[in-house]
Symmetry: C2
Subunit: 123 residues, 2 copies
DNA sequence: TGCGGTACTTACCTTTTCGTAAGGAGGGTC
DNA sequence: GACCCTCCTTACGAAAAGGTAAGTACCGCA
C-alpha cells in the first residue's frame, strides 16, 4: 500500500497530489465515480475491466481515508454499499483534467489508434 | 520499473498521464528541471534529498525515453552531462500545475506545518 | 599515492504492490 | 438443498519497485 511509503513531509504539492492517485486503479476509480456520480461495488467492478475485488476494496478504503470518496452502507437484506466522490474528490478530478488532456495528446503522438481517444475526453 | 506494467492500451488520458509520472522521484525531477532549466547529474542529486544514484539514472533514462527530458553529454575530461526538459516535459509540468495546487491545499487541510508550503507554490 | 569529484553500472536484497484463490454471512432462486 | 447474489476479508505468492553498496574509468589536488 501507499500507506507506508510516502505520506511524508511532502516536498511540494505535486508530491502530495501524486501520492493520493498512485495506485493501479485510482485514476480510473476517480473517473468512474465522477462520470456516474454514485456507484455500487459491483458496478465499479464491472466498469474497471481486470480489477480484482481485493484491489478494488483496498483502493476504495485508501481513497476513503484520504477523503476522496464517501462510502454509504445501507443495512439491507442484500447488502448495498454506494460509493461517491466527496468535494475533495471532485476538485481533485478537476485538477487532473489538464493531465488527462496531456495524456490524450501523448497517446495521439504515439499513434496508438487502438485506444478509443474519443472516450478519453474525460473532464 | 513502470516499463512492463502499464504502457498499455490506456483507458483514458489520465491513465497515460499518470503512467509517465509514476515513480518515486519523477515529480520532483520534473520540478527541479523546470525550476532550473538545466541541471547536471550531481546537481539533481543534491536537489533531491535521499535519492540514490541508481534511481536517479533509472528515472532520468525512463523520462528520456518518454520524451520528457533531454540528455546532453559533453565529451570532456571530467565527464559533463546536462539534463533539461523537452517541450513535452514543459507542457506536462504545466498540466501538473492544478494537481500541485490541489496538493498544497491538501497539505494545508491536514495541518502539516512542517512542510515548507511557500516553497511548494510551484508552477 | 591516496583521496575526492565526474557520471554512471552492476549485483544483491528488501519492501511494496498486485494477483489468485478461497471463505463467509445472509438471503433469494431453481 | 445446491447454487447464485451481495460485499467484502484473508492467506499465499509472484512481480515490480526501490535501497545499499560496490565497482568503473579518468582526472585534479595535495
Amino acid at each position: 500500500m501507499a500507506r507506508g511509503s510516502r505520506r511524508g513531509p511532502y516536498i511540494c504539492g505535486i508530491d502530495a497530489g501524486l501520492d493520493v492517485v498512485s495506485g493501479k486503479w485510482k485514476g480510473l476509480i476517480l473517473w468512474e465515480l465522477d462520470a456516474h456520480r454514485v456507484r455500487r461495488f459491483a458496478e465499479l467492478r464491472r466498469g474497471l475491466p481486470g480489477v480484482s475485488e481485493k484491489m478494488l476494496t483496498q483502493h476504495l478504503r485508501e481513497m476513503e481515508q484520504d477523503g476522496l470518496v464517501e462510502r454509504e452502507v445501507y443495512a439491507e437484506v442484500p447488502p448495498r454499499v454506494e460509493y461517491s466522490l466527496t468535494e475533495h474528490g471532485r476538485t481533485l478530478n478537476q485538477a487532473l483534467g489538464p493531465l488527462g488532456a496531456w495524456g490524450v495528446d501523448r497517446i495521439r503522438r504515439e499513434g496508438s489508434e487502438k485506444v478509443d481517444v474519443a472516450e478519453a475526453s474525460h473532464s
